[in-house]
């Protein structure tokens, strides 16, 4: 399977996710929205598996390949949130965001080939990037909630419930960020001789991590303001964007060994 067939899989997946998200508004039962979203995920994962096989390496090397995983994990995060917290709108939010990343991948496709530099040929490579992409998706979902909150603050009825959901998303997200970062550290020791080198990418990963630590600690106080918490989440997500691709444009990037190649 090559990149040329991406558009067919992507469109089918988006149609399935979209119908699932639309049905979520209409019905109390979660069966159909869940089923359709899952079907979309299956279609999407068939493409990822096919691409993996044809490239003979994990498709995690280029920026576009990480976007591919991100568009896959967003509906996963949306589905889990929907099933656990009953918010009807979350599926449409994650579907829209996922579609944005799919469109970026279609309009600005990467060059995909089999080449994988020796440093990336490691059993740690796939878990490291996949866990990170999963955490980015969960934290992306949390950011969508924060935006929803800030836009509609006055109209939200049960704020406590919404905050509880946000906390859960952030705890799951920071747990995965921590796992991704530590797996990265162990791998770096094996590949480059040191577990932490303050490479720009590592530095921004640490900054992102601190951003979310600020949120969870701030939330521990009962007196903390919901609005400030949500603003913290948005700041942390901006740090995350810098870490993911923003670093490539910073003065420090000339020294990075971790920029995605294409």
């Amino acid at each position: 399977m090559t990149w040329d067939s991406f558009i067919y899989f992507a469109v089918s997946a988006v149609v399935l996710w979209g119908s699932g998200a639309a049905l979520a508004y209409g019905s109390k039962r979660k069966l159909w929205p869940a089923l359709l979203t899952t079907l979309g995920l299956i279609v999407f994962s068939i493409f990822i598996a096919g691409l993996w096989m044809s490239l003979e390496r994990p498709p995690l090397r280029t920026m576009g390949e990480t976007r591919l995983w991100y568009s896959f994990f967003l509906p996963v995060a949306g589905l889990l949130t929907y099933l656990r917290w009953n918010y009807k709108w979350i599926l449409s939010f994650t579907t829209v965001l996922s579609t944005v990343f799919i469109i970026v991948n279609i309009v600005k496709p990467d060059i995909h080939n089999k080449v994988l530099m020796p440093a990336l040929q490691s059993p740690w490579f796939a878990p490291h990037v996949i866990i990170y992409m999963f955490s980015y998706a969960i934290l992306g979902a949390a950011t969508l909630v924060a935006i929803y909150y800030l836009v509609r603050e006055k109209k939200i009825k049960n704020k406590a419930h919404l905050m509880e959901m946000t906390d859960s998303l952030v705890y799951a997200g920071i747990a995965c960020i921590t796992l991704g970062m530590l797996i990265g550290a162990i791998w770096a020791k094996i590949a480059w001789g040191h577990y932490w080198s303050w490479d720009p990418k590592e530095t921004w990963a640490a900054a992102t991590w601190m951003g979310y630590l600020l949120y969870i600690h701030y939330r521990l106080k009962k007196s903390s303001s919901d609005k400030t918490s949500m603003i913290l989440l948005i700041i942390a997500f901006i740090l995350l964007q810098v870490c993911w691709y923003g670093v490539n444009y910073l003065p420090s990037a000339q020294q990075s060994i971790h920029t995605y190649s294409s």
């Binding site: 530590l182 040191h194 007196s223 420090s252």
Partner: protein, 424 residues
């Protein structure tokens, strides 16, 4: 930010405002020290100084914890009100570190940018006083918080708390103190030779308690690729998104930047002979041989297809391009390395001999040294008979790993347990 708005500043109980003032005070002391003393010289903290500093620091935290009684300042210091400002200031320094290009610790003053940031230590952030002091301030809060938590009724949630906070404390303290004892050297060895001296980054040569013999060195490359280039600039086409085709076998055809290519012959080991009028490409099973692909190229507007050899050359032979028309040619970029590996025999002073293969991602451990595949002689490419290793000794690694594995468990705990249910 504080619910108790009638409270004056410095009036107990302290909140975020005092937190920001104290953290800013730590930052200011760091800046003053930076002006006075310049960057911290890591080497001064090499063993045993780092062990002593670490022991004093931990002893100090224990003393503060046990002797402070009901001190409200210490209680505040182990609360979220101190944590948030401390993290915010450290985060700001981390962002500066992530934005500005950084210079190696040994860089001469004259080689740093002549900028006010230099005297603030921002171009060598990780060894600057403000950064290191802020790290220790955060560590103190972390340590005191962990200690104070033991005085409370213990529930199963404490497991997660200790794994995360104690784990981070151990990993951070071990990492900071251990950095002074870390040794990294490179060692360049030719096939058949034995080496026991390593080069430090500073250019100094150091004798090591172990020797390495390079038995053989091998490079495996990916299949060659073909690209279409613009004759005038040598740029790959299409300019917006250069395409390439990786060789898959004779007889295959492909479309590349509007050109149809058919592979008509392939020599993995070729010699190229040419003068002004004549070029011959023949098989040659010898060192220095290059890779050559014969292609037939066609393109709308071309009277008839052109056919000829394309090669990426070697240290013996030149590159060859196949010119399609005035504007474009077919070219073969240098092949990417798939794998490089060194067969070595390592000897130690205690008489141990170890035979092993070292590759990227597969280092060899000999006593307390880790030996990494680092580089090779890239002027000779795949015919390099020289391998470069990096040797690393990090006596504090076990401490850091203890912390890292606690943090890993703590993260799993956080994932499964989730946030504490708030009583509504």
């Amino acid at each position: 930010m504080n619910k108790n708005t009638s409270r004056k500043i410095w009036e107990h109980p302290w909140g975020y405002a005092e937190g920001f003032i104290v953290a800013a005070g730590v930052l200011l002391s760091g800046i003053l020290l930076q002006f006075a003393a310049g960057n911290i010289e890591t080497a001064l903290f090499a063993s045993p100084v780092n062990t002593i500093v670490g022991a004093l620091f931990v002893a100090g935290l224990l003393a503060v914890h046990f002797l402070s009684g009901k001190s409200r300042v210490v209680r505040w210091l182990s609360s979220v009100y101190a944590t948030i400002p401390a993290l915010v200031i450290l985060l700001i320094l981390a962002m500066i570190l992530g934005i500005l290009p950084q210079f190696a610790a040994g860089t001469e003053k004259g080689q740093l940018p002549p900028h006010p940031f230099t005297s603030l230590g921002w171009y060598q952030m990780t060894t600057s006083w403000p950064f290191v002091l802020l790290c220790f301030y955060n560590l103190s809060i972390l340590g005191l918080t962990t200690l104070r938590r033991t005085t409370r009724k213990q529930t199963w949630r404490e497991i997660g708390f200790y794994l995360n906070h104690l784990g981070l404390f151990i990993a951070l303290l071990g990492g900071i103190l251990g950095s002074a004892d870390m040794e990294r050297l490179t060692m360049t060895i030719r096939e058949g030779q034995v080496e026991w001296r390593g080069n430090l980054k500073t250019g100094e040569i150091k004798e090591l308690p172990l020797a390495i013999q390079l038995d053989t060195f091998m490079i495996e490359e990916y299949e060659p690729k073909l690209v279409i280039i613009e004759n005038e600039t040598g740029k790959m086409l299409p300019a917006s998104r250069p395409e390439s085709y990786m060789f898959e076998g004779i007889g295959k055809t492909t479309q590349l930047a509007g050109v149809t290519l058919e592979i008509t012959d392939y020599l993995p080991h070729a010699a190229i002979f040419r003068d002004s009028t004549f070029m011959n490409v023949v098989p040659m099973m010898m060192e220095g041989a290059t890779t050559a692909i014969k292609v037939k190229a066609d393109k709308p507007g071309l009277a008839q297809p052109v056919e000829g050899w394309v090669s990426n050359g070697s240290y013996l032979f030149p590159h060859i391009f196949l010119q399609i028309d005035e504007e474009t040619s077919v070219a073969m970029p240098v092949q990417e390395v798939k794998k490089y590996s060194s067969h070595v025999t390592a000897f130690t002073e205690s008489g141990i001999t170890k035979e092993a293969v070292i590759e990227v991602n597969k280092p060899l451990q000999v006593e307390d040294w880790m030996i990494y595949q680092y580089s090779y002689d890239d002027t000779k490419g795949k015919y390099s008979d020289t391998s470069v290793f990096e040797l690393v000794r990090d006596p504090w690694l076990k401490v850091v790993y203890t912390g890292i594995f606690m943090l890993l468990a703590g993260a799993l705990f956080l994932f499964i347990a989730g946030p504490k249910k708030k009583a509504s």
